[in-house]
Amino acid sequence: MLSSFLDGVNRVKNAPALVLGVWLSTLLLALPLAIVLQQMLGEHLGASLAAQAAADGVNYDWWNEFLAQTSGLGATFVPSIIGFAAVMNNIATVADKPQIPTVIGFVVIAFQVVSLFLAGGILDRLARDRALGAGAFFSACGVYFVRFMRLGVMMAVAYWALFGPYHSWLFDALYPALIADITVERTAFFIRLALYAAFAVPLFAANMLFDYAKIRAVVEDRRSMIGAVAASWRFIRRQPLVVSGLYATNALVFLLVIGLYYLLAPDGRADTLAFAIGQFYIVLRVIVRLLFAASQTALFQGRLAHAGYVARPIAKWPDSPAAEAIGPR
């Protein structure tokens, strides 16, 4: 397990373009909305003297005034975007499933679609552990995207069940019933913590199942996504401790990264440095995400005794039919 993890670290280290690409995709998806927000904030501040305080620090009074007069995208501009509060808030969106504004929901889903598109290329690159070139990378992305869209249907059903009925049952029905007569807040918190665990276990299990399904689809060039899921299940079932141990190790790295950000995250007074540190943190998050994929791929390849094997030939951009007609056969 540890060797797979270290192998994964090396594979990510050898693929800086992947890190750059995923980071850029977060940036490019977020930037248009950031520009819209920038215009909204600028218009609200106008030529006022309040802008000076907002530029130099946190002008909380102006902030509240803006929030009282805005809606939609503007309503997401809340204090919990500052520093580490953003991390708390965002993890809480998974744990507590609060209402996410529609426009933000679209961006999150768009990024998931992009991630699904890139997944084939990323896994192909990580499985081969050598540079392939942009053409082959995007070719792999294209080849697997259709398959992963089919897998995505299964994922959507599973995650819908988890975040929908199961989450509601846990936190909207069971939790209120469990704490109805509790008079000690600490006790209620620990009950909630237990329910978070009850939610996390199947969530992480589903996550591992679909991760290995994608890996098997790429490494073994599987066409059937139902078959890939079944194969993933067989793989996990054969070595549950190793698979979950590796997952936990990666999760630990995730915790270390957010712990580091906890120490470094600048408050609302910082300006350019805050943005730079924020982007550094996002890059680390991208690395962690790739580390999950790389180490799981390494584990799968190692455990199936054909390390480095990738069934599918390297994909290349096809030449045009005309070029093919005159080219060597």
Binding site: Q52, I82, M88, D96, F111, Q112, I282, R289
Partner: protein, 692 residues
């Protein structure tokens, strides 16, 4: 023998008070870190301090009550002897009796109907067991020798003078065969049973925590007729002063906290009867639970009688006991100096059980605070609620205006006082938000809470400033606007007055109002009369604009232009040609400021124009017109213009547009914050990316 012991004890207490006065607690500067000294050793008997003998209030309605709690059944069984003197100017031909717990009897009560109008339906999924009630089993007029004279039980009827809701049973009336003339006394004996609603607003039970308020049949207030309203969700309370002697029987070993001073405890089998008495109060509340941790501290101030502060705190909040005491001590000291002395020997702070819904409520000499298991340092929890409720001891408790009709006079002043005291003695406080089921706090160390805006709850006010006006009788306020009007707008109004006249002037006005009105049920008019007297000004315009009106205030600088003047067109004589001409004489810049009133609210404001050389021009604008233009010819450009630069008018809902500068920083600010926001969005995307 017993009398001698009591006398000896009194002397000992006086001596202790004298020593304590010399070593008096000086809270404010070290308020946060004050140790919880003067606690009796574990198992010590409660300190008994005799109630003041001389009446400081009219003592119109006194109650002698015996009550037994059955925790398993969640019921109270009680009997009371009410001694009521008609201090009105006409004869009373009937009585009015509040039966507050019937608000929780069913969803047809006026209380719950009003909540439903505000979109709240707390009993929507309740079982029958969750509802509460109070039933009078017998009511009779009593002879001086204690025997029944007239049985009124069958005559007692529910009335609903405010909304004609036939289903409401929170107010009852009975006709008196013999009218009670002014100066005459009536004695009523009432027996009743009551069932606690399940952990509901202000009163109720959860687990083995019982908070018992508005729990006994209680007379209305009589002057030229009865002032007695049904129980509204918006309303608070109004009743006459008197003496309370209450004996509460609870399971043995349970801790009791109550209005007044504990006089005795008597064990009987597995039950204990706690006797509390207090004079010159207008209500009585109590609590009991086996889980409280009891702590005590004595507050002393030279020239003032000591106050025994008793804290009944939940075990998980014990680490916050010092902060409770510090806030209570500072309140007694500051409010004692600002308004007048706290006249009672005890103050009991009840830290309510989690989910009890009884936090933050005031009763005579007792209030509920309310805090969290995890409460960061330099947040205003629990200080905010402790100071607010301690302020009520002066306004609700001692001044005691009619809160059903003018709750703002108590709530607004208490909110204002709370905010002011936090600012004086408990700085800094930082914004706290909670995540993960509202449990885990996160403190923003870059967002210190400001008095003018944050602890006056400006943000809540500005979201609905015009839904109602403060002057509307509180019970009749649109459901859901009570807080905004009675608390927030009223506090902002008072803070605006402070900024108009300085704190010294407003403090003097509040102090005089307190001194004149204590124990007298004043009206808002009494307050404004004192304000006129102290300031020497007529506040009719202020009352019309701020108090009586629901108008919103919003002044703005519409434009600021500062450039060399350009003249075009014909000159004075037709011989001069048509031309554009820049007036460069002396290098003068013409600065034009357009100020606007964007909303209906009118208020006199200053306009301040600052020039590049630091020179400033200040104009007085009565704020009545929709716009005003100010023009200056100066050798330098203007740098900025501000309307209401000192922010006197705290009710201006949009202060950002109160200023304009020719060197705007909005782009820099907007870029900075949009980039910070972008990092949040990227993190959100990465957080959810783990599932694909």
């Amino acid at each position: 023998m017993v009398a001698d012991r009591k006398r000896l004890r009194r002397h000992a207490l006086k001596l202790a008070a004298l020593v304590a006065a010399v070593l008096h607690i000086n809270a404010p500067t070290s308020a946060r870190t004050q140790p919880s000294a003067l606690q009796p050793p574990a198992g010590a008997e409660p300190v008994t301090i005799p109630a003041p003998a001389a009446a400081v209030s009219p003592r119109t309605a006194s109650y002698d009550i015996d009550v037994t709690l059955d925790p398993a059944a969640r019921t109270l069984t009680g009997s009371e002897l009410i001694t009521w003197q008609n201090q009105g100017s006409i004869a009373a031909y009937s009585i009015r009796l509040h039966l507050y717990w019937n608000a929780f009897r069913n969803t047809n009560s006026t209380w719950l109907k009003q909540l439903a109008m505000a979109g709240e339906m707390p009993f929507a999924n309740a079982s029958p067991d969750d509802f509460g009630y109070i039933d009078v089993t017998k009511i009779s007029i009593v002879n001086p020798d204690g025997s029944d004279r007239v049985d009124l039980t069958n005559d007692l009827r529910f009335i609903s003078p405010d909304d004609q809701n036939a289903d409401d049973r929170t107010l009852a009336a009975a006709t008196l065969v013999d009218p009670i003339q002014p100066g005459q006394t009536l004695q009523l004996r009432i027996t009743w049973t009551g069932r606690f609603p399940r952990n509901f607003d202000r009163t109720g039970a959860i687990g083995n925590y019982f908070f018992v308020s508005q729990w006994f049949p209680k007379l209305g207030v009589f002057d030229q007729g009865w002032t007695a309203h049904q129980f509204f969700a918006n309303s608070e309370f109004f009743s006459d002063f008197g003496t309370y002697d209450v004996r509460m029987t609870v399971p043995k070993g349970w801790i009791v906290g109550a209005t007044g001073v504990e006089q005795s405890r008597t064990d009987s089998g597995d039950q204990t009867t706690h006797r509390y008495t207090q004079s010159d109060v207008h209500d009585f509340a109590w609590t009991t639970s086996p889980d409280f941790i009891e702590k005590r501290q004595q507050f002393t101030l030279p020239g003032r009688a000591p106050v025994q502060i008793r804290l009944l705190i939940q075990p998980e909040h014990e680490y916050l006991a010092d902060r409770h005491f510090a806030a209570a001590t500072a309140s007694l000291q500051y409010f004692g100096q600002w308004y007048g002395a706290y006249p009672y020997p005890t103050l009991t702070i009840v830290d309510p059980a989690w989910q009890s819904q009884s936090a933050g409520m005031e009763y005579p000499t007792l209030f509920t605070a309310g805090t969290r298991w995890l409460s960061p340092r330099q947040s205003n929890d629990p200080e905010y609620v402790v100071i607010h409720e301690a302020a009520h001891q002066f306004w609700y408790g001692i001044v005691a205006n009619n809160e059903v009709e003018h709750a703002w006079l108590d709530e607004g002043i208490s909110e204002f006082s709370d905010s002011r005291l936090q600012w004086e003695a408990f700085q800094p406080n930082y914004l706290v938000e909670r995540f993960f089921g509202d449990f885990i706090p996160w403190q923003y160390r870059d967002i210190p809470l400001q008095r003018a805006t944050d602890t006056n709850y400006m943000n809540a006010y500005r979201r609905a400033p015009d839904r109602d006006s403060i002057s509307v009788p509180t019970a009749m306020l649109w459901p859901g606007t009570h807080q905004n009007m009675s608390y927030h707008k009223a506090a902002l109004m008072l803070h605006t007055l402070e900024r108009m006249y300085t704190w010294e002037v407003l403090q003097k006005a509040l102090g005089i109002f307190f001194a004149r009105s204590k124990f007298k049920h004043p009206t808002p008019g009494d307050f404004f009369t004192v304000l006129d007297e102290v300031t020497g000004k007529d506040h009719k315009w202020f009352i019309d604009q701020v108090y009586n009106s629901s108008n919103t205030f919003d002044y703005s600088i519409e434009s600021l232009v500062s450039e060399k003047p350009v003249s075009r067109g014909l000159g004075g004589e037709n011989t001069k040609p048509l031309r554009a001409q820049e007036d460069t004489a002396g290098g003068t810049f013409r600065t034009t400021v357009v100020a606007r009133r964007l909303e209906a609210g009118q208020f006199p404001v200053d306009v301040l124009v600052t020039f590049e050389n630091g020179e400033q021009a200040r104009e007085k604008w009565n704020g009545q017109g929709r716009w005003a233009v100010f023009t200056y010819d100066k050798p330098v450009r203007a740098r900025s213009a501000q309307i209401d630069p000192e922010r006197v008018l705290l009710l201006d809902t949009n202060y950002t547009n109160n200023s304009a500068t020719l060197e705007p920083q909005s782009e820099r600010a907007a870029t900075k914050w949009s980039l910070r926001w972008m990092v949040w969005l990227q993190d959100l995307m990465m957080t959810w990316a783990f599932i694909v």
